[in-house]
Point group: C3
Chain length 270, copies 3
Amino acid sequence: MGIITLLTDFGTKDPYVGIMKGVVLGLNPNAAIVDLTHQIAPGDITQAAHVMGESYSFFPPATIHVAVVDPGVGTNRKPILVKSRNHFFVGPDNGLFWPIIKANDEVLVIHLTNRKFFLPHISPTFHGRDIFAPVAGHLSLGTDPLIMGKRLENPISIPDTTPTRKGDTLFGWAVRIDHFGNIITNIRREDLVRFLGGRQMVIRVEKESIEGVMETYADGAEGKLLALFGSTDHLEFAVNSGRADRLLNLDEAHGLPVVAVDRVEPSQKT
Amino acid sequence: MGIITLLTDFGTKDPYVGIMKGVVLGLNPNAAIVDLTHQIAPGDITQAAHVMGESYSFFPPATIHVAVVDPGVGTNRKPILVKSRNHFFVGPDNGLFWPIIKANDEVLVIHLTNRKFFLPHISPTFHGRDIFAPVAGHLSLGTDPLIMGKRLENPISIPDTTPTRKGDTLFGWAVRIDHFGNIITNIRREDLVRFLGGRQMVIRVEKESIEGVMETYADGAEGKLLALFGSTDHLEFAVNSGRADRLLNLDEAHGLPVVAVDRVEPSQKT
Amino acid sequence: MGIITLLTDFGTKDPYVGIMKGVVLGLNPNAAIVDLTHQIAPGDITQAAHVMGESYSFFPPATIHVAVVDPGVGTNRKPILVKSRNHFFVGPDNGLFWPIIKANDEVLVIHLTNRKFFLPHISPTFHGRDIFAPVAGHLSLGTDPLIMGKRLENPISIPDTTPTRKGDTLFGWAVRIDHFGNIITNIRREDLVRFLGGRQMVIRVEKESIEGVMETYADGAEGKLLALFGSTDHLEFAVNSGRADRLLNLDEAHGLPVVAVDRVEPSQKT
């Protein structure tokens, strides 16, 4: 057995993802390989980190998550393996795994240096095939991460991706637009509840402001922007029977907006 | 073992489908999971029902078909399990499985109420992950559907999707445009043959009329609309080395046309 | 076990690929099925042959590669099975497998005629489901190719796809644009090195000319066209943090350009 997930910015037009699977199956024909997504915006490490963060914990312990969003492929950026309490992560040391490393106490980061676990020939343009897929294949067979390289003390970090507070306002931002046009933010339910401390909220995004959150998409008035906690308990904007991205005229290529939540006393609400 | 298919309107940009697979594999690491499609038009239950109808019977007995086109997620619409003689179906009670329920005598419909077979926390926006995936995982391990909930006597229906006859004309409609631009109708070969009773046919769609059907795409004149029975024995329009949707200026977002078949005596043909 | 790859022009909107997998799993529930791509341009046999050529060797011995780019489906073109030393290939006899047949000495080509290994009913529009998938399923169970049909001596060929030399210039062409906008040519590193014989090179494509090749994408100046050997050791054009297809204003639908490599003495370079 052995479950391996793949998250890349490769798209699905080229055979690149299939080739990585061929390399894995050549080492472990019983691996179960799952595509998380191959449509990360090219080179967008932050988006990749967000998608990994909302996905990995739904997989069983010992799952190996391979993430290849790797604009520095072939340069001196390091190939790494991250072992948290329950999961393995394999990919480039470019910040993609930083939120996972930061959030886990017992994390082990290995700089993959032992070429015995790579393909014999390493192309400078496709480490997904030549390094990360074979490492995942070997890991899935039970190889000890410690013999695959040496501990890395200072993996690359990315800027903090959690909301900040200024007085009675919590500032977060939109991180992703999903297939349905829902806009997903980095504001978690538990952080918002703590911030509110029992008070009520007004949520502001672009020129819209919304009082409170709905339970389901269908609770909103048709055609009007609503807020709710999405499936990973992050604040999310949606439109019942419509698309929030269209209503707000947003797309990922042009950048995503700041989201502000004001905590207010009931009397303050207009 | 255990074969599980997935049909959704989730697209493939987000990790939602991969996450559902993680939940299934966490319960049954040996499940074989097959994507039918994730590109149903958002919320289009009728299209989902058509695609399921043309697909499921090519899978072996005991396959579990999970379909999540679920505009009412989180409302009081019911999660259900349908057992036909040879297959299982899991998804929302919104009409998606109605054609299968209607066409099978020995069908069992279960309202999924036993939370033991769901994830511990149910998000109101992602029952695919929290209800349907774990139910499919448990089913694939041999769990008896009868302990997963209680019989449902009146599942939601959708309008009849079979052609109607008026005198010497059979009226059906286009249900789907495929990747090649072929236009697939709801008119089945056997129903058409019975209707014709040995007479000949003139097929009308938009401003085109076609006498008779071809055997293969390559039989048509290049650039001209042709009709044939497609791979599921439904009447289909195509263009040899071209696209029928372009020739007829059709796309799914703007609705698909009625298709009329007139039965004529040989002498009547112009 | 048994690994089966799929390469088609079916897209992923329709359930056609999933249905083929259902047929395979009905015969061999333990088959591991890998998608190479389903986004070959409709009917583009040459492109399919290129993608197959860069992919198959990364799969383990005995992998079965099913390729269905089949504009002549249902006509008298033959269904075939090709056995090279290490791999099986299954699909239509239309030239798709010609480069593999030509490059292998010990190749066996079988015209698939034994209907015992097909589905009982053969639709003239979907041999992928009715012939190629079940043949792959049977092959993966160890069925001898020789009982599946009879040897075919003259499979269909496609024009030679290797570069040609004229004096001090090697002429190749672009064969594919990948997801990142990189332009992949048919010029292999080893052929180019032999042609150069130690001299230097000037590479011409459209109105651009480039002296020499880089090692990695990140070596290029931002926004400028660069050349390198891609992951399958073919000459490739790219732009660091950009897209070569946009810089050269190319897209596959409008045809891809000739690429010329001049060998020059060091003094000749400006």
